[in-house]
């Protein structure tokens, strides 16, 4: 009964699955996978440069599985994290709660409707997978196993995201917390199921994963069920007043103290008196009132999770293998990638959603000042949160002699992180100005950032495989990646790894990755190009945001 006659499920399925957009997306997805298979398909016996036979099938299968797993981890939260916060934002949440629907009906309806599309996407790759099977070298059980893992992952990630959605008032908060929970889980899951030894792999995915998932489902299901049964004021309609002090009394773990360092850097205390003359009121409002208007829960979760994750990473990447310091920086960058848009992607859409834009725009504040204040506020919060994680890098540079000797690399790392903060915030702002809803703006920002930060790495990786055919020098390949902070961080020369000498004094053997080769014959290190390009890009994004903002409310006559 809860599946076939579930009104929540029916309504959502009707609206999402029938939209032409979903068909287009599915088509694009299958086409992309098809293209992948086409490129890797053994091109004939005379073409000696490509592998033929089982090796190809195995590689294709790996790409397929990993790609789809990443897709599930990235998409499940975007589909599910807005499921309940969306109702809150549209002010239909209480109507839903007081309806005779039982909480678990709502929960299951929300979960299935947000995941059904994802599952359809996954299953639509099945024919291509069968094609790979025909190449030989793959076991049917292997394929079945990977689909089980995918579906389990989709269910678990989706449920966790729905749980986050029920716990927060805004989609942006729910989305970022979902990612913070889901992505580490996904990393563990990939590590387990891709172990080289097939028997460990099978054991992990058949004997460990399902029961663990079941356990997570049960616990989270009960928690969300109770939440829906007895909604608290904090996560309620979103209109309620959140009493910060009251909330802090029941806070677990990190407590945010707005009067003390470092919290006052991103959340200065509320004013007791009028603003001084010359203050930008929008900036002041964003920092002092808006950050905690939905409660401090999201920020506390973000800080705690990121700190927890940083501990093992710090041990492994900074202290045991200090040559991998760039990978710790990559973790900090990923954190910023996740958190940066949260504070900026809502900055303009939220004014629209809350219908405060008309009030703001009839004052003497110019759009330029509003946009800049929004950018500054968002950047300040995300930068401070991100730099909380650089403490560990500083520590490593102080304690490890092989790092201490080269302080300029520290400065480069910090600059890369700062430039990334600037980019993520400005991309979020731009998407906010271009979108109608905060949830759209969030997803759009993540997409833009993935294209800027991660796609170049993928393209480079692909081209490396065919570089001989097309005569691509490493310098040219490096040039592709200059928009990616990951590439920038890993392009900083580090000492070579010598096993068994982690604490190894002065070093002279450095690994210098290829610099980016510009067409004019210039060679510049990737990190330098990145550091120069980033502010330019950020300025361009802010410019687009400004123009879009102007256009939206004035030219298009669409202020509210």
């Amino acid at each position: 009964m809860w599946m076939r006659e579930n009104p929540v499920l029916n309504r959502e399925l009707l609206t999402t699955l029938r939209s032409p957009r979903s068909f287009v997306l599915q088509f694009v997805y299958v086409a992309a996978l098809g293209a992948l298979v086409y490129f890797y398909w053994p091109a004939g016996v005379d073409d000696g440069s490509r592998m033929v036979g089982p090796g190809v099938a195995k590689r294709l299968y790996d790409i397929f599985f990993l790609g789809q797993f990443c897709l599930v981890a990235l998409l499940a939260p975007t589909f599910a994290a807005g499921s309940i916060t969306g109702e809150k934002e549209r002010k239909t949440y209480e109507m839903l709660l007081v309806s005779p629907l039982r909480p678990h009906t709502i929960l299951i309806g929300k979960l299935l409707s947000s995941l059904s599309y994802l599952v359809i996407l996954i299953l639509s790759s099945l024919p291509l997978m069968i094609l790979c099977y025909l190449l030989g070298g793959l076991l049917l059980s292997e394929i079945a196993r990977s689909y089980i893992v995918l579906v389990l992952a989709a269910g678990t990630f989706g449920l966790l995201s729905v749980a986050c959605s029920s716990g927060f008032g805004r989609t942006s908060s729910a989305l970022v917390v979902s990612y913070l929970v889901v992505l580490p889980l996904a990393a563990i899951c990939v590590a387990l199921t891709r172990a080289d030894d097939p028997s460990t792999r099978d054991f992990a995915s058949v004997a460990i994963l399902p029961p663990v998932c079941l356990m997570i489902w049960t616990v989270v299901g009960i928690v969300v069920n109770n939440r829906l049964l007895r909604p608290s004021d904090v996560g309620g309609q979103g209109g309620g007043v959140v009493d910060e002090e009251e909330e802090m009394k029941y806070a677990i773990g990190v407590v945010i103290d707005r009067d003390a360092f470092p919290d006052r850097l991103f959340a200065p205390a509320k004013r007791n008196d009028l603003m001084p003359d010359g203050t930008n009121p929008v900036l002041d409002k964003e920092l002092r009132s808006e950050i905690f208007s939905q409660g401090t829960l999201m920020l506390r979760v973000v800080i705690q999770v990121s700190m927890l994750l940083s501990i093992p990473l710090m041990a492994g990447l900074l202290f045991l293998r200090s040559d991998l310091a760039a990978y710790y920086v990559a973790y900090v960058l990923t954190f910023n990638l996740l958190v940066g848009p949260v504070f900026s992607a809502g900055s303009i859409t939220q004014e629209r959603e809350r219908q405060t834009l008309a009030l703001l725009l009839t004052t003497l504040l110019t759009p330029g000042r509003i946009v800049l204040a929004k950018l500054t506020a968002a950047m300040r919060v995300s930068t401070v949160l991100t730099f909380l994680l650089t403490e560990q890098i500083l520590l490593a540079y102080i304690m490890l002699p092989e790092l201490r000797g080269r302080p300029w690399t520290l400065i480069v790392f910090l600059l890369i992180i700062a430039a990334t903060c600037l980019t993520t915030s400005s991309v979020g702002l731009m998407c906010s100005a271009l979108s109608r809803r905060t949830s759209t703006a969030m997803v759009l920002s993540y997409l833009t950032l993935l294209i800027l930060f991660v796609l170049p790495l993928g393209v480079r990786w692909y081209l490396q495989g065919v570089s001989e055919e097309y005569d691509l020098s490493p310098g040219r390949l490096a040039l592709i990646t200059v928009t990616s902070p990951y590439a920038a961080a890993t392009s900083v020369p580090m000492h070579a790894y010598r096993p068994g000498d982690a604490w190894g004094g002065d070093r002279t053997d450095f690994v210098t990755p290829p610099p980016a080769a510009f067409p004019g014959g210039w060679s510049v290190p990737v990190w330098l190009v990145f550091l120069v390009a980033c502010p330019v890009l950020a300025a361009a994004f802010t410019g687009v945001a400004w123009i879009a903002f102007l256009w939206r409310w004035w030219k298009a006559g669409d202020g509210a």
Binding site: G239, G240, V241, V242, K270, R271, L274, M275, P276, D277, T279, P281, V282, D284, K285, S289, E290, F292, S293, Q294, R354, Q355, T356, A358, L359, L360, L361, T362, T363, L364, L365, T366, W553, W554, K555, A556, G557, G559, A560
Partner: protein, 309 residues
């Protein structure tokens, strides 16, 4: 003070407002009346510099709405029909926010916020969070916000919508108070009686067209070929008065009851003077001689009937 000249707004094929023109003099309260979806908010948002017209022009205190929006913003206080408030802000912070946005120096802000809170009877809510206020309180707070920079022109879009009857009365009293302070006010509503008591002029809009605009009396005159005259006598000589009135070419029908005579009349003010003269000359003991004021409701019904027919 406020001038709208041939304002037209189209959304694609749909014409929301069609060639609207009217003007509002200084110190007037202009009631902008029309059913839902008539185009009131569209016109108001245009005047508030929030909407670019498809064609046409607007001027407020001499400044062009399209060419010099900043100057216009300085002289108007705008209250949208649907608005939200910021979360996590207290009432005084909310007002301070807008006062700073209007570039008011701190020394003046303290006094102004106090005064505005006083005027809107929100002083006791000073330290409450704005998102915890009731609808009526929020409405008052928004009105308070429009007053912080002491604008000579107020543009209020349905300020009384969604309020309970008591809050409605209070809102009315407030608007009267603001008129006494010499402000020019444009206030819209889809409920006529809300505006009836204090508007000096009205504009009636339906389906994007202005059906009538001007002072209430002008409109009455324009839309009615005949007005209603009411003559009260000190003694019961109603028959004589009725006969005299009936003979006049400007009178359509006469009814008499008790000591008063009501006559439907289609002349102008001069005819009215002439009629009074004739009554006096005939020695009818006139106690009062006046045109019966038409309620806004009646005006509205007549105007909208006009387009139906």
């Amino acid at each position: 003070m406020i001038e709208v000249i041939n304002f037209t707004k189209r959304y694609g094929e749909f014409t929301a407002v069609d060639d609207l023109s009217f003007s509002i003099g200084e110190g007037e309260i202009f009631g902008f009346i029309g059913p839902n979806g008539a185009g009131k908010s569209t016109t108001i948002r245009f005047l508030a510099t929030l909407l670019r017209p498809t064609s046409g022009e607007g001027r407020i205190a001499g400044h062009s709405v399209t060419e010099d929006p900043m100057a216009v913003r300085r002289v108007i206080g705008f209250m949208p029909d649907d608005f939200g408030v910021y979360d996590g802000m207290k009432v005084w912070e909310f007002l301070d926010f807008f006062a700073v946005a209007y570039e008011i120096p701190k020394a003046m802000r303290r006094r102004i916020i106090g005064e505005v809170l006083e005027l809107l009877d929100l002083t006791h809510k000073r330290d409450d969070y704005v998102n915890g206020l009731s609808k009526g309180m929020k409405q008052r707070l928004c009105l308070a916000k429009t007053l912080v920079h002491d604008p000579p022109v107020l543009i209020l879009d349905e300020p009384a919508s969604g309020l309970d009857p008591r809050a409605r009365l209070e809102m009315k009293a407030l608007l009267n108070e603001l008129r006494r302070m010499g402000k020019t006010i444009l206030v819209s509503s889809h409920i006529l009686s809300e505006l009836a008591d204090f508007c000096t002029s009205i504009g009636v809009i339906e389906r994007g067209r202005l059906l009538a605009a001007g002072s209430i009396r002008d409109i009455q005159r324009k839309i009615r070929a005949h007005r209603v005259l009411k003559v009260e006598l000190t003694s019961g000589e109603t028959d004589r008065a009725a006969t005299i009135l009936r003979d006049d070419p400007a009178i359509d029908s006469v009814e008499a009851y008790g000591r008063s005579v009501t006559a439907e009349f289609h002349g102008d003010d001069e005819d009215m003077g002439r009629l009074l003269g004739r009554l006096m000359a005939a020695g009818v003991p006139v106690q009062s001689f006046a045109e019966e004021p038409l309620s806004l409701e009646e005006v509205f019904m007549m105007i909208t009937k006009g387009i139906v027919n």
